[in-house]
């Protein structure tokens, strides 16, 4: 489990609009890497290129290479569907499937991929819910709809759903921005536990959160509205927050813009 990601010369487009420009970086396995930067600088876009979700958007197009332990995700013979099983994703707003129970939500990834054995499903569902620190809260109502949970619980349900297919990498796009402080804390604790098993990349607007949960931090910025976003620097989180090597990073972190 847990793989290294090597990104080189990556640009992404929406039709003719270039959203991110020539990004190269390495994401270490079994660590948390945080993406910070002002809105519209392409953090979500970049994140979505890492599991080939970007091309789902009409007009979405990618140039460059993403190596997952030396295997290029954008090689010609690679099936995007298989990539997404290896690189899981959690979205900004909790989005459990409304027609499915809690159990079925967690089992969805396995079931929809054609694995139906009940005993195995039960085992995986319990393991994933425990892994998402949700088991104790829902074990008595696994057959109730997932939409009946609180926002924070729903987001942990989505995390359980994502880790149930046993990905190598977990991408999270502002997973706490729709949640209250208590639920946010629960998710941050969870991220700390999950990094033992997965490579985690998290986009966040919250500086304290980046400082609390991540080992490495990448700062993105854009020259002007309508210009493509660029990677400004990536370094150990401590360094980024205490002594960044680029002035713009320090300005952004200290709240002078963005």
């Amino acid at each position: 489990m847990a793989k290294r990601i090597d990104i080189s010369g990556l640009s992404a487009y929406y039709g003719n609009h270039k959203a991110i420009d020539d990004i190269s970086m390495t994401v270490e396995p079994r660590s948390v890497t945080a993406f910070i930067g002002p809105s519209g600088c392409g953090k979500s876009t970049f994140l979505r290129t890492l599991n080939r979700m970007h091309e789902v958007t009409p007009g979405g197009r990618v140039e460059g290479k993403v190596l997952l332990d030396d295997e290029n995700l954008y090689a010609k013979d690679v099936d995007p569907v298989a990539v997404r099983r290896t690189v899981g994703m959690v979205f900004q707003r909790p989005n459990p499937f409304p027609t499915m129970s809690i159990f079925d939500n967690v089992a969805a990834g396995l079931r929809l991929n054609g694995s139906y054995k009940k005993s195995r499903l039960t085992e995986v569902v319990e393991k994933s819910l425990r892994g998402a620190n949700l088991w104790n809260e829902v074990k008595d109502r696994l057959n109730k709809p997932g939409s009946g949970l609180s926002g924070g619980q729903q987001q942990r349900l989505c995390i359980a759903r994502a880790i149930a297919v046993e990905p190598q990498v977990l991408l999270m796009d502002e997973p706490c921005s729709a949640l209250d402080p208590i639920s946010t804390l629960a998710i941050e604790d969870l991220i700390g536990e999950l990094k033992e098993r997965f490579t985690i990349v998290i986009v966040t607007h919250n500086m304290q959160q980046a400082a609390r949960v991540s080992d490495r931090t990448a700062f993105f910025n854009l020259a002007a509205i309508g210009q493509p976003g660029k990677l400004i620097e990536i370094d150990d989180t401590e360094r980024i927050f205490s002594n960044p090597s680029v002035q713009a990073t320090e300005d952004y972190i200290s709240g002078r813009f963005g």
Binding site: M53, M89, F91, N95, F97, P98, L112
Partner: protein
């Protein structure tokens, strides 16, 4: 009408005097809305009332289970069994054709459709929505019956009804599929589920309540069609359970035939059949509503 107008003016005058002009205008707006609502309700309720009072007196077990076989149209007695059977079969076949085709078209348009082909399909669906039922009937008559040489049958009528039903199903299904949040599709795709499975297992189940409702309403819509049935199914007094061969009858056609005869007994039968028709459509509507409520994805706690 005059009374309503007078009522509105009087409300305005009195309220303006007592409470001031802003409240006066507010009252007038409220009254106008109410008067319009009641005006809209009057024809609806009186239609239902007339049909029920006139229709109920001939409806009994005999009426529902016997045909007009062996009777002159001017005779008393007889029933609508042959017409009811015809309607059920023709509408059933039309639904079996139109619902899957319409559903798949809508799935294509919403989930896959981009560029020229999708635009063309959308355009033709729009055009089809406006086709008068008699034209659909003539089209089937010209192709199925005259060109291919088949005689009148329930199936020919069902083909015309399917043409009328298809665009309605496409439109309503399209709307329902568009209501499914994109986030759900992305959540499923991000789990490594192929697109077709995502549509089958996530998108369609989420929208199924609305889709079924749309199909039911489309069925209700075509059940009352008379023109294509007149052309293609031809009408008969006898029970013909085989929709693929020979003339059949249908409820709207029966109503028309009986009314044209013009004797007291036949006009009573026409009202009786009309009531059954309305009841059928009403039941479909209620079932549709029930399904929509039952299948609606649960939200909140």
């Amino acid at each position: 009408m005059l009374a309503a107008l007078f009522f509105v003016l009087a409300t305005f005058a009195i309220t303006t005097k007592v409470e001031g002009s802003r409240q006066g205008k507010d009252r007038v707006a409220t009254s106008v809305v109410w008067v319009c609502f009641i005006l809209a309700l009057v024809p609806l309720l009186s239609l239902a009332w007339v049909t029920i009072t006139k229709g109920i007196k001939v409806i009994d077990g005999y009426f529902l289970t016997h045909s007009m076989s062996g009777l002159l149209d001017t005779d008393e007695g007889g029933g609508i069994y042959h017409a009811l059977l015809g309607t059920l079969e023709q509408v059933g076949i039309a639904t079996l054709i139109a619902a899957p085709v319409g559903l798949l078209t809508a799935v294509y348009l919403v989930e896959y459709g981009r560029g020229r082909l999708a635009k063309t399909v959308t355009f033709f669906v729009d055009v089809m929505t406006g086709i008068p039922s008699i034209v659909a009937g003539l089209f089937i008559l010209a192709t199925w019956n005259l060109m291919l040489g088949f005689g009148p049958s329930g199936f020919a009528g069902a083909l015309a009804l399917a043409i009328l039903m298809m665009p309605v199903v496409v439109r309503s299904t399209e709307e329902m599929l568009k209501l499914v949040p994109n986030e759900l599709r992305e959540a499923s795709l991000a789990l490594g589920v192929p697109k077709w499975r995502t549509i089958l297992k996530v998108v369609l189940p989420t929208a199924i309540g609305g889709i079924t409702t749309g199909v039911m309403l489309a069925v209700a819509r075509i059940t009352g069609e008379t023109a294509p049935v007149l052309l293609l199914v031809f009408g008969t007094k006898l029970i013909n359970p085989n929709p693929f061969e020979g003339a059949q009858s249908s409820l709207p056609l029966y109503v028309y035939e009986q009314y044209v005869v013009g004797t007291e007994a036949s006009i009573d039968r026409a009202w009786g059949a009309a009531l059954v028709l309305i009841a059928f459509v009403m039941i479909l509507n209620l079932v549709a509503r029930g399904i929509a409520r039952w299948k609606a994805p649960s939200t909140g706690r």
